[in-house]
Amino acid sequence: MLQEKRIALRNSGLINPESIEDYIQSGGYQALAKSLAMESSLVYETIIESGLRGRGGAGFPSGAKGKSTALTCEDCLKYVVCNADEGEPGTFKDRIIMETDPHSLIEGMLIAAWSIKATKGYIYIRGEYYKSIERVKKAIDQAKSKGFLGEDILSSGFDFDIEVKVGAGSYLCGEELTLLESIEGRRGYPRIKPPFPAQRGLWGVPTLINNVETLANFAPIILFGADWYKSLGTEKSHGTKIFTISGDVNKPGYYEVEMGMKLGDLINNFAGGVKGGNEIKAILIGGAAGTFASKKHLELPLDYDALKENGLTLGSGAIIVLNESRSVLDMLRSILSFFKHESCGKCVPCRLGTAHILSVVESLEKSNVGERESIFLNTIKQAEIMAKTSLCPLGQSPILPLKSAWTNFSDEIVKS
């Protein structure tokens, strides 16, 4: 029997999320104490060693990011920012962590902060996540009262404080540089990169930005060691990943499993299989900025590399299942209209591109069947130029669903 392997969700459902005592009793804040007793550089070295990659969607090696931030300057002001602006359609893993075990995030942030010697942290939470906001704030207060946050934490001489910032409904603010703009009180427009946040981030100082799920893995890695974490998952994608499954399945929900779980196993064993006795048609992996997989991918192991080899992405871990009755083109239209709506309009390729590709896909049904292939291929070409020229990941994303939809469902697109 396949089992979940819960690391980020280790306490979820097992403890009272509003009780710091519960968290402590289940081993909470021990990793913090252990970290503070370590050389700070050893902390990020351990994370590097563990192979943990960013769970927000980009999959960048987490430890390397920490090291680079730490080494930008010593003894200078630095920040840790947690990206909790979970906006990728179909993704709700960070919400679960914040709602069911907020201290795992706070402890992770503390460890990250110590590793780079940051003194202040911000958690930028999606505005609609009322309960997450409430629970995280409460957890911060509790941690302060217990001396885990504030000055001279656990008598180590280390000071760190966390502030919650609430988003206002922009998808783009989940993009890390736009998020920094938003924290600074500016309108959510993406910043020019470089400089990267590790060099010049929030208010111009080195900043380490991590996703909630990523941070929730920090304490177990420190506590049980890099080797332990590395032993989980596949050869190149270590550890576990939370998948949030929705769409035409019998048991939609969140499941944390080891990397390398087969896509089909995840859908059938955990999510209860396809709803309504229908056959599976398509699986959108990674949300709007994700890719369409088909039935033939059900045997694929869910890890960064296997998916990449098949033109797919793991992304945020959102899995949206479409049964036979669904139209891939409809889904595509909905995704492209989402991008058009969320494009900030700053850069030309994304502002115009998201509008143009949507209108082409919308008019596809009205065009001659014989012309559809060339129309669609032209749209892919546009999306490729968008990807090549856009300022931020939003304009670079439409190519993902477009191209994978074509690769896997060209017959349907041309004929429907």
């Binding site: 020019i192 969320e342 900030c344 309009g345 850069c347 998201t354 090549k388 300022l391």
Partner: protein, 907 residues
């Protein structure tokens, strides 16, 4: 200076400063990489993506406007892929663009459209999305029209407003394809936009175009573009006038030169309309039987020459006097003072400086040796702390204020001291709001705090202050009683704010002072400035870059007119007249007998009026001044002017003063002549003729020159203004090294003693310009004002200027745009006072002082304290100076425009 590195662009090796902007470097080296959102004055945006290049070692395509030059960078600027990508992006841009063009603006997108062959519709791939967008034109602003269908959303206007001008009025509404620019919360005309037009200047397309002359301007028919200096305040902004059909049709800021680097305010950009006003004087006018009759120049010259000579003969030289003009060029003013001194034979020459910064100059001359700003305008941005006192800098020196606001954005500490709220308070770290007339006490309080806390600079005091520690001790003993609590009782300023201001000023690594009319136009004007100078000297915040005192000057050439000798006690270059050695030098240069020049210091502005009132001055020659609006106690001035035997007024319009003239001479505006102005930071700047003189009007200096001839005091023949400047440079040591040729491209800051001298940006680096070379402390005690409120006159009235108008508004109110912003007088009153008097906003009120009365409209505002009022003095229908008094500051003879006891009643 950063070191140079080598980079390669398309195979060509280029040397450039490390860290320089790659796009800028490429363009400077003739790689014409397209790009629409980049502008050298703005931070890179990376929005249009047209400047994409390939850089070895970097993934994909990168926007060159966002890259800094690094050693060994290998860049591909042009290849097929890049050019195709650029064409693709332009095609995209054009699909949301209305590409009709009416030749009224320069259009960078249009140039690229032709370059990439996209003017032909068949070459375009993308259908227009314009129709699907819900956008509408905003033409509610007096100065511009926003046409969203021409907007490419490049952010240049937003950044122009924010980063360049520090105003932050513009932003995008909505998002993505639907976004468009809005001012304030949506309607341009209702926003805080003050019409500076920086956004228009930086707009790359026709989205933002100015309204004035939009119907008539045609860029293909513009005959010439003339670079010159703005005629309004003393910042000296460099402007470029577009001339079409011998008329000015547009004014642009000149990029890349000091003092403004292309920035302008609403007056500099739009205030030129008066030049072509039908109200201009076009012929000489002679008053015959109470009526002005047109006359020939010959007739006018003969009459004036004979009358002046007759009066000189009958009453002596000192019965004649002249008012020079801060609006005229150095060349005009130099010739004018020379005329007064050689033809009238008197030193009775003065001008409006006596009404504005005379006290500042008096105090500065005594204390530190020069009456001009000690630092360049750029220091307003870079100093760590700026004390702005009695100076509504945003409205009176809008471009200087842009430097301050940019400084504030960088974290500069700003202390504002002003009894009235002014817009710079928004940027201030602390605002001290003293009661009117209590500045000496407040500044002594600040000095007291500094000394008590040991924040003064003993080393500076010992080395650079006359009398050293002894002089300091003398100051210390005087200010001992000015404890913060004591000062709070006098000024109403809370003690903790006094302490904070003292700390910020004294403890910042660098600090500057910007002092204005609020300090100078008081009976205690000189004492006020002495206190400021004491503060500066004991803290050593002077004599370095970003440290010193700058009194921004109110008029375009108020600095220059004194520099070139329009001063009753001084020859050109601040050389005292009461000195035989000086007189000898000047008489030799002017080729007149030693005795032809008077050794007796002349009368000042208000003294001239008093002397006229008393019948001692019989004839007055006024060039470009309007004392019937500018002088204090106008009822008295009116009687004085009526009492004159002969009054000549030389101006461009009829003014309140011309009424009393016997002869009016039509003169030229700044746009009609060549010459120079000196701005607030001592920069000598070129003025260039852009259009011909109106009607029979003549250049001022030519009028004076001819008059001098006719009176029998011929001056040398000057073939042009450059030759006049050469002569004035010979008698003005501070400008000896300057000539028109040297300042063709960039102004030079005096002192510039020799032709190979680069000019001086910071004064007093080694020594002060006093006889001892040291700064001098002048301890001053606070004294209560003689003008006080009582039961009959319970309010203190303050007066001043506003952004949209200028002095007596003869120029600004003849410009539609400026009238559109505001065209009526008002008085500000605190809401609590309005309640007490049962007065409501907008109602007509009568204001009376012990000297006169006027009518205006009431504006209820928390900008003033209870018991105090404020009125702008630009409006002839409500002449504020009917209320002011002519009690003078004993040292500088300045009049106290800032404080008059009045009462207010419903009308």
């Amino acid at each position: 200076m950063s070191k140079n590195v080598f980079i390669t662009i398309d195979g060509k090796q280029i040397s450039a400063p490390k860290g320089a902007n790659l796009l800028k470097v490429a363009r400077e080296n003739s790689f014409d990489i397209p790009g629409l959102c980049f502008h050298h004055k703005l931070s890179p945006t990376g929005a249009c993506r047209l400047c994409l290049v390939k850089v070895e070692g970097m993934r994909g395509l990168v926007a060159s406007c966002t890259l800094k030059v690094e050693e060994g960078m290998i860049v591909t600027a042009f290849d097929e892929e890049l050019e195709q990508t650029r064409r693709f992006l332009l095609d995209y841009l054009l699909s949301e663009h209305n590409d009709t063009y009416d030749n009224t603006y320069s259009d960078e997108l249009r140039v690229l459209m032709f370059r990439y062959g996209l003017d032909k519709k068949e070459n375009r791939f993308f259908k227009s999305v314009l129709e699907s967008l819900n956008i509408k034109v905003d033409s509610s602003s007096p100065v511009l029209t926003y046409e969203p269908s021409k907007c490419i959303k490049c952010f240049r206007c937003i950044k122009a407003c924010d980063e360049v001008q520090g105003k932050n009025v513009l932003s995008f509404n909505d998002r993505g394809i639907n976004s468009y620019i809005i001012a304030g919360s949506g309607v341009w005309g209702e926003s805080e936009c003050d019409g500076c037009g920086e956004c228009i200047q930086l707009c790359p397309t026709g989205a933002l175009v100015e309204k004035p002359n939009r119907e008539s301007i045609n860029l293909d028919k513009v005959e010439k573009r003339v670079k010159t200096t703005c005629p309004y305040c003393g910042v000296g902004c460099q402007i470029e006038l577009f001339i079409q059909n011998d008329k000015i049709v547009r004014s642009l800021g000149v990029e890349g030169v000091s003092p403004n680097d292309g920035r302008l305010c609403v007056k500099g950009r739009f205030g030129y309309e008066f030049v072509h006003s039908n109200d201009r004087l076009k012929t000489p006018l002679i008053k015959k039987e109470g009526r002005f009759v047109e006359a020939s120049w010959d007739e006018a010259f003969d009459l004036i020459a004979s009358k002046f000579l007759e009066i000189k003969e009958k009453y002596g030289s000192d019965a004649l006097a002249g008012y020079a003009s801060a609006k005229c060029t150095n060349e005009d003013n130099y010739i004018f003072q020379k005329f007064i001194r050689i033809a009238f034979g008197t030193n009775n020459i003065d001008y409006c400086t006596r009404l504005c910064h005379a006290s500042t100059v008096t105090a500065m001359l005594k204390s530190i040796g020069d009456g001009a700003g000690s630092n360049p305008i750029e220091d307003f941005e870079t100093t760590d702390c700026l004390l702005i006192i009695g100076n509504n800098i945003v409205e009176t020196h809008p471009i200087t204020a842009t430097y301050v606001k940019r400084g504030a954005a960088r974290g500069q500490k700003i202390i504002v001291i002003d009894p009235k709220w002014t817009p710079i308070v928004r940027y201030a770290s602390v605002w001290l709001q003293p009661k009117l007339g209590t500045d000496v006490a407040l500044l002594n309080g600040i000095i007291n705090v500094i000394i008590r806390n040991g924040w003064h600079n003993p080393q500076f005091i010992m080395e650079r202050v006359e009398g050293g520690i002894e002089a300091f001790n003398e100051l210390d003993s005087l200010i001992k009683k000015y404890t913060p609590d004591y000062v709070e009782r006098i000024t109403g300023v809370p003690a903790d704010k006094i302490i904070l201001a003292a700390k910020l000023y004294a403890r910042s690594a660098t600090a500057m002072i910007a002092t204005g009319m609020g300090m100078s136009q008081q009976v205690t004007g000189t004492n006020n400035v002495f206190c400021l100078l004491n503060l500066m000297l004991i803290t050593g915040q002077v004599g370095r870059e970003r440290c010193g005192i700058d009194p921004p000057r109110g008029q375009n050439n108020v600095q220059g007119a004194t520099d070139v000798g329009c001063h009753p006690f001084m020859y050109p270059g601040y050389i005292p007249v009461a000195n035989d050695e000086n007189k000898k030098k000047v008489s030799m240069e002017w080729c007149v007998p030693f005795d032809a020049l008077s050794s007796k210091p002349g009368l000042t502005t208000v003294e001239i009026v008093k002397a006229a009132h008393e019948g001692k001055v019989k004839a007055l020659y006024i060039m470009g001044e309007n004392p019937m609006l500018t002088d204090p106690n106008l009822n008295h001035t009116e009687e004085a002017l009526k009492n004159l035997d002969f009054l000549v007024v030389q101006d461009i319009f009829h003014t309140e003063t011309t009424k009393f003239a016997h002869v009016i001479l039509p003169a030229s505006t700044w746009a009609e002549k060549n010459g120079t102005f000196v701005n607030s930071d001592r920069r000598v700047l070129r003025v260039r003729k852009a259009v011909d003189c109106y009607g029979d009007a003549r250049e001022d200096w030519k009028i004076i020159h001819e008059l001098s001839n006719r009176m029998g005091f011929p001056m040398p023949i000057y073939n042009n203004e450059s030759e006049i400047f050469d002569e004035l440079a010979r008698v003005t040591p501070i400008m000896a090294g300057i000539s028109h040729a040297r300042i063709e491209l960039h102004g030079i800051q005096w002192p510039c003693p020799t032709t190979d001298h680069q000019g001086t940006s910071t004064l007093y680096v080694d020594k002060f310009n006093t006889p001892s070379g040291k700064g001098k402390l002048f301890p001053v005690d606070y004294a209560e004002q003689n003008e006080r409120v009582d039961a009959q006159y319970p309010f203190l009235l303050n007066s001043g200027r506003i952004l949209f108008h200028y002095h007596t508004s003869t120029m600004s109110r003849r410009t539609k745009v400026l009238r559109d912003f505001i065209d009526a007088s008002y008085v500000l009153m605190n809401p609590n006072d309005a309640i007490k008097l049962n007065l409501s906003d907008g109602q007509k009120v009568k204001i009376a002082s012990r000297r006169g009365e006027l009518e205006t409209k009431l504006k209820i505002s928390e900008e003033v304290l209870e018991g105090e009022l404020f009125m702008p003095w630009h409006f002839t229908e409500s002449q504020v100076n009917r209320l002011t008094r002519d009690e003078l500051d004993p040292y500088s003879k300045i009049a106290p425009f800032k404080l008059s006891a009045v009462n207010v009643s419903a009308k």
